[in-house]
Symmetry: C2
Subunit: 233 residues, 2 copies
Amino acid sequence: MAERGSLPLHTQIAELLIRDVAAGRLIDGERLKPEREMAVEMGIAVGTLRKALHKLTAMGMLQRVQGSGNYIRASAKPNAVYSLFRLELVRGGGLPTARVLDIARLAKDPALPPFGTAPDAHRIRRLRYLSGIPAAVEEIWLDGSHAEVIAIEDVSESLYLHYRQRLGLWISRVEDRVGQGPLPDWAPREFPVAGGALLPLVHRLSFGQDGRSAEASLTWYDPATTRYVARFS
Amino acid sequence: MAERGSLPLHTQIAELLIRDVAAGRLIDGERLKPEREMAVEMGIAVGTLRKALHKLTAMGMLQRVQGSGNYIRASAKPNAVYSLFRLELVRGGGLPTARVLDIARLAKDPALPPFGTAPDAHRIRRLRYLSGIPAAVEEIWLDGSHAEVIAIEDVSESLYLHYRQRLGLWISRVEDRVGQGPLPDWAPREFPVAGGALLPLVHRLSFGQDGRSAEASLTWYDPATTRYVARFS
DNA sequence: AGGAATTTGTGCGTATGTATC
DNA sequence: AGATACATACGCACAAATTCC
């Protein structure tokens, strides 16, 4: 197998396994065959397979236990990345939904941190909710090189799911900054509910192996109802 | 070389290089010797060195360029952990220092998130500065099982350096929450400078390989001068 | 309880491809 | 075009953790 294309073999193997998880051919908790066996069946070296498995581990889709085996960890959550850096209610949790206000393809705003390679980008403006409570307004800039057009239906729910499933992008690096700043003038008038000061959050995502940054976003959230959670492990 | 058997060799090599960067023995932009040469000098295999170099790359401290070489990318980072989750000036950067207000060994506050195994903990209260500007007040709870006593001199500068060098603890997991809350009554009167509302940051650290949580801390920072930066890669 | 079998972790060495100089 | 240097891939040996008998 492994008809060599442009991508490295271990990357192809990793994506093959990811598709297997997404398609339900590998289910949560399932134990994979031993590495050596898998490698022989796939016609590749153990080290190559191990690289692929390590990538899945980093994505939180796999748990490797020495002396035991490799176990699929396909969380019930829409995706795992979401749980690394997310907004949640001050009282904890909250079901995230979003209303897309506007999508446009524009030249990049020079005020943004640098990202991507194309001169233009998709600008997505959303109002985000947690369990129905308005939590944040958000402006996302996705580099123009990854898609021709993005429709509102595409990104109404889980944006990152769309990235991964439709655009083939997976997150390799995230950088966030929480500071101070004014509310943007395009925010809906009903938000924030209590009329207090919002916290701005500059979010920067990099995709794929090369780690080139491909998205920059600005989020303003309401600290009266919402908090920002970051997790590293 | 590489006598201590506790940590994997490639991890030891990575930390060695990190210390070299932190100590200024390797400066920004410097080109390392070829992998083969380095490996021979260190008495290790090329593959082992490569693992270490990949780790530095993931941490953003190194750029690997095929056909050219390995280049140090040190943008004035005191240490690696600090750069993952840190406070910095709104205008960027800032040299972190701290003044210890109080250290005590107490029973754990039940209001804190659970951490560690001992019934009591060291409580460290600090006022933190960035380039001399008061940035945050902080209350740190370190599980009592890791040290008998902690002196003010120990933790006046880099707390995490003390953890790793004196207590043998290295950070394996971090979880942060930024929300809303009141200023603690023990904060110095001169802080915050502008008298505005502070942002509370609940910080939870786990140490070692087992990932048992060993520290919980509460930080209140001044968004007028300071922002919180989180990075994942 | 204990030992053998299983399975992943670590480290080493090598060959070939590919980008840079 | 040639030399240099990192990227990828392969395979082996032993260590460490787990599982099973």
